[in-house]
């Protein structure tokens, strides 16, 4: 009876958490701006919906999508065929929703997409909670893990933007079924694993490594039992279903699948190459230092999370080393792990180390901070929770130390809540508070261009002219942000690019594809004066300059 009561209490707590998150998400949805790639993603969705309609002979749908494609296309977008390798996981369904519900206003179309993205993120957080729940037998610690997963400021801020956090979400769900399949090689687990793995591959090609890690773990387990021999039919089914799901969810592969799949890897050579602001230096993103990812994670994650992670990772590394040097060929007990729970730790350790070194060895072309590898955040939180769990277990009889740990957890939770509130709605440019103002502004800031909505609303309040000309002293296609403001205001603004001489106002953030210390293309002319600057916790978001009268 007691157990049931606790279970019930835990379920209530989880329900309250999700209900609160959902209410907060819905009520604050419109505070977030429109990011610069929304237009492309919308076009991508309609492009592939058009293709699917054509393949299945859905003439009406094909006609509607053709009209949509023509309406969306403008001079700022390259033909979609240049970028058509991007996945369709969210783009295509939302294009269909747009047509099905006859959504007319562009900002509504985007906000529906933001909401769905946030919803998927919340669903993935439950899978993360389940991973923790099966590893650590402490509900409150697991609940803390769930809270940190959802409340990491950069991750939460980006969860509405259906790009990198969407991949994180599918990666998490895929990882849950990875662990389930390792635990029990049932057909159900393997099918779910292949399904979510295929969706993750669709979003980021490097998820293709996950099946290799899966086989690797099975290979280790095969030393004690004939897993491959006993389950070869299931494993063939897994590889087959992964291939089929990847194919089905990626219309790009429907014609010439093998050739197009190989082309995907060659197209990685043409990834965007530009200069990025890093420690106040403009460096080409082809030559990033090996410490790039680590530095970014440290400076832009809440400090408590980082400390928990460092200790957790250190503790596990020591344990791993001890296990490694004591391996004995004939003893099951003397292996890299000693229980099902430790096996999970090892898988997380293996994935984190492997992905990290894959990015370093292949000299990955990263940009915009560490957003392309946001999925590493689940490893950060996992090892953080691992540290807290073993600390509480170790000090379970020492009430004072236990209370101290409880107090630190309370501080960590409060700190995340404070950060989320103070950065709202710019959580995606969060830096932790240990950084000085100078340091915070020596990295790329609002690369998504979400501040453009804030900018247009601000200017429309202070300037009542019918037409306002705005120049942009940054590498940000500001005109795309106009789609986030009410239709009446959109007509008011005319974007003139870098033609400063014809502008009334200049918008400036610290995003530049060239070394702006030497290249003067984004230098604000002397006949303009700064009238406004949006700073959050000393992080500069954008500046407004006005033509001197």
């Amino acid at each position: 009876m007691k157990l049931d009561f606790y279970k019930q209490k835990n379920s209530i707590l989880l329900s309250i958490f999700y209900l609160t998150a959902l209410i907060l998400g819905i009520t604050n949805l419109h505070d977030f701006g429109i990011h610069i790639e929304e237009k492309f993603h919308r076009l991508n969705g309609h492009y592939w919906l058009n293709y699917v309609a054509e393949q299945f002979g859905l003439v009406d749908l094909q006609r509607i999508t053709e009209i949509k494609i023509n309406n969306i296309s403008d001079y700022t977008l390259s033909p979609v065929s240049h970028y058509n390798k991007w996945g369709i996981v969210l783009d295509l369904p939302t294009a269909f929703i747009e047509i099905l519900f006859n959504l007319k206003d562009i900002s509504n179309i985007y906000y529906v997409k933001h909401f769905l993205s946030f919803l998927i993120f919340l669903i993935s957080s439950y899978f993360f909670f389940k991973i923790l729940d099966k590893r650590f037998d402490n509900f409150y610690i697991n609940f803390l893990g769930l809270f940190l997963y959802v409340s990491s400021p950069r991750i939460l801020g980006d969860s509405f933007l259906y790009k990198d956090v969407l991949f994180l979400s599918f990666f998490t769900i895929s990882l849950y079924f990875f662990l389930e399949a390792i635990n029990k090689l049932s057909i159900r687990n393997l099918i779910y694993f292949s399904l979510f793995n295929a969706l993750a591959i669709n979003l980021r090609i490097f998820a293709i490594f996950i099946p290799f890690f899966f086989i690797f773990i099975l290979l280790i387990k095969n030393f004690y039992s004939n897993i491959f021999l006993e389950n070869y039919k299931k494993l063939i089914l897994y590889i087959f279903s992964l291939t089929i799901f990847t194919y089905i969810f990626w219309p790009y592969l429907w014609e010439n699948p093998l050739q197009k799949f190989i082309e995907l890897f060659s197209s990685l050579d043409y990834l965007i190459k530009l200069k990025i602001l890093y420690f106040n230096q403009y460096i080409p993103n082809e030559f990033l230092p090996n410490t790039y990812i680590i530095n970014w994670i440290i400076i832009s994650s809440p400090i408590f999370q980082i400390i928990f992670f460092l200790f957790g990772f250190l503790f596990y590394s020591i344990r791993f080393f001890k296990r490694f040097v004591n391996i004995k060929d004939k003893l099951i007990y003397n292996d890299l792990w000693r229980s099902k729970k430790e096996e999970k730790d090892f898988i997380f350790f293996l994935l984190l180390i492997s992905f990290f070194f894959i990015f370093i060895f292949f000299n990955a072309t990263l940009y915009n901070g560490w957003r392309l590898v946001y999925f590493l955040n689940i490893f950060v939180i996992y090892f953080g929770i691992y540290f807290l769990y073993i600390s509480l277990k170790y000090f379970r009889k020492n009430l004072l130390t236990k209370n101290c740990i409880g107090f630190v957890i309370f501080l960590a939770v409060s700190y995340n809540i404070y950060s989320l509130i103070s950065y709202h709605p710019f959580q995606s440019v969060y830096f932790n508070s240990l950084l000085s103002e100078r340091l915070k502004n020596s990295f790329e800031g609002d690369y998504h261009g979400i501040s453009s909505k804030h900018f247009f609303l601000k200017i429309s309040k202070i300037d009542k002219r019918e037409v306002i000309k705005v120049a942009v002293a940054s590498h940000t296609p500001l005109q795309r942000g106009l789609e986030g403001v009410p239709p009446v205001l959109r007509k008011k603004f005319e974007i003139v690019g870098q033609e400063y001489h014809s502008a009334d106002y200049i918008y400036k953030n610290n995003i530049s594809e060239v070394n702006s210390k030497l290249n003067k293309k984004y230098e604000v002319p002397k006949n303009f004066s700064k009238i406004y600057e949006l700073k959050i916790n000393k992080t500069k978001i954008y500046e407004v300059y006005k033509l001197n009268s």
């Binding site: 030393f223 030559f287 060239v514």
Partner: protein, 87 residues
Amino acid sequence: MKSFFYKSILVFFLFLAAFHFSFGYVVKKIKIELEYTLSKDKLEELKIKIREEMQNAINKENYIKPEDALIINQFIDKVRNDLEKNK
């Protein structure tokens, strides 16, 4: 077999790491140097430096020392005469 498997993985990983942090590191360093030396930014930096130096020269009352000016004048005259002779 198990130990052999783990040791092979470890050796493979250490080999990759050693390669990346030695040979790979040197190649990357050379590429970075080349990029910085031949980049548009570097040329831009050079142009800015030249402009600044010219501006400094204009601002100074005597940019060239009198004895240097004398030598340069004599040298120019010498070159001009030689060119005239061999026209």
